[in-house]
Chain length 397, copies 2
Amino acid sequence: MTDFAKTKALFALPPGVVYLDGNSLGPLPRGAMERAKATIEREWGVDLIRAWNDDGWMEAPRRVGDRIARLIGAPAGSVAVGDTLTIKVFQAVSAALDLQPDRRVILSDSGNFPSDLYIAEGLARLRGGGRTLRVAPPDAIEAALGADVAVLLLTHVDYRTGRMHDMERLTRAAHAHGIPVVWDLAHSAGALDCAIQAVGADFAVGCTYKHLNGGPGAPAFIYVRADHVAGLTPALAGWLGHEAPFAFARDYRPAPSVERLRVGTPAVIQMAILDAALDVFDGVDLKALRARANALSAFFIAEVERLCPQVRLISPRDPARRAGHVSFGFDHGYAAMQALIAHGVIGDFRAPDVMRFGVTPLYVDEADLAKAAAVLAHVLSGRLWDRPEFRRRAAVT
Amino acid sequence: MTDFAKTKALFALPPGVVYLDGNSLGPLPRGAMERAKATIEREWGVDLIRAWNDDGWMEAPRRVGDRIARLIGAPAGSVAVGDTLTIKVFQAVSAALDLQPDRRVILSDSGNFPSDLYIAEGLARLRGGGRTLRVAPPDAIEAALGADVAVLLLTHVDYRTGRMHDMERLTRAAHAHGIPVVWDLAHSAGALDCAIQAVGADFAVGCTYKHLNGGPGAPAFIYVRADHVAGLTPALAGWLGHEAPFAFARDYRPAPSVERLRVGTPAVIQMAILDAALDVFDGVDLKALRARANALSAFFIAEVERLCPQVRLISPRDPARRAGHVSFGFDHGYAAMQALIAHGVIGDFRAPDVMRFGVTPLYVDEADLAKAAAVLAHVLSGRLWDRPEFRRRAAVT
């Protein structure tokens, strides 16, 4: 039985703050600072160049990948860590295109995170040959599958609403048309019990700074189904994806494993911090985490609906269709969120009118959510969103 | 007048060690740990998601880019920081290809770092249309320029020998054939007084963990000549290169500046550490740094040649043709380097027989180099390279 009071104690949360934005940036695990200090002062400072061997820097992307693999339902050796999620989307979609070289369409949905769509469109242009991105509404994906579709690229969880795709059903439907699937697990990894291998997904990618709490700018990951690895020609043929990088051979020969999707020198310090952050998940049962997230979300929705008639739920009400965050629509959402933050409840805002709240059982409990709902009621009933100090837009919202 | 005793004091060098591998991984600047601690504990830990605005995380790639710009002779606003060098090579070469869309050849040289060649070859394959990589010997580049060459991709300083290309002459020669040039400044930035704008280079890229001391896995940089920016279609169309990332628009519209070459979420912690590392360069005159590097290198070559007849200089003897490291060939170079390291003198080895020594005036002085030469003489005259403990190969050499 996972004890969520114990996991909460593993985070350095600022006193008096309710943090409901772990779906954007997970908070600081206490172990991360200590690990950063060791990596910087002892490994970099003292071991210097020797640390690449002596402190395991070079193999960290695979070792950390194995830890993430467990959290997404993938076998050891199937996940490589590095770069950013956008780069990993590029690699995965390019590899998927190679599986159906005579088809022209990358299919995605309008609920996808914009960067996935931008990068897919850019890749289609770069590879040419009439390749193109087609964007369908999220609930029209199955109908859009067909013999012209080369790749299905979907983000499992909608970043605005928390709406979850049925990964198993869509993967099966795509495969029935011979279409490989790339799942973006940005809002899934660490929030849900994903079963990426069991659903038969071809590729998956994700970031680690949200529910995995790896810190700002933590590296991304990529999963490749075992039978795709040997034939995969990396789109980004970097030296650390080489079979023998330190032979400095003239010819590129990709590594035999998923490590062929490594590119350049790994961000060693961020990788170490991510590794320490993953310690929080040791002993955490993901089914228990998911059940608790559902219970907490239901409680929060009920509290907000009871206290705040001004907002409307835009996340699915059915917990089976909703992931790790809950969103409410409100016309003055930006300013209301600023007022909420000023009162110690941190969520975030997504254009045009989405107030988004991460419900993350590792460090959020009923008391936090009751307080958040009460403060939101105070902000709304007092029309605090109308005050000038909250209406000013920051560069990053 | 730059005081190199003062810059040396800014580094946390382990006692008793002579560090001659700053051309691979620069040592730890004392300010870096303090900055990492502030970024992790205060910004991430306390400010949490608000740090993207409040602590300048979002604009760091441009701010740090401006600091690097000065060090490579580029104007403010011309450099973006992020990703790895390999990714930045991909972006630059792809952009250069677009300037000559009817030409098929990416020209490089056999002295280039393998990752540059791998990524260029992979890009040629990805973009198709008969594009190909042609590799000429370093001294045959001018002869290989012609009307079929779309891009010239060169690393300024040879990673094995320290041999420097004449950046100005080759850029001019390429331009005479209508060929845009991409310079890889991996071993140049922070070691030399580069004048990337003055020579008229089209693009430049580099890493920051060598002579810029940004730490293991520190982000890379890319420079774009001002007149190329507006027409540049990014090969990796990530959301943070968007004109307005947080509008979450369906259409990709690249940022008006060099920031269109940003891709995904920046590695905030590594970026902060790099920023702190660049403080070391405040007040450093790069011409004085270069003059001192030449004097130190000449001293080291003379000492080694006096004491170690077993090795042969493979770097150019002419300081005008040699950059920030000095290399000697020796058949048992791997084992000899291990023995040297065991005796507190850290250089590195590059296949097949290169013993490489970074001569980095910011923290290396004559006493260090005299000791290094003496220890090398001890290793060689005592045939310590023949001992079994030094002959075992590590994973990373």
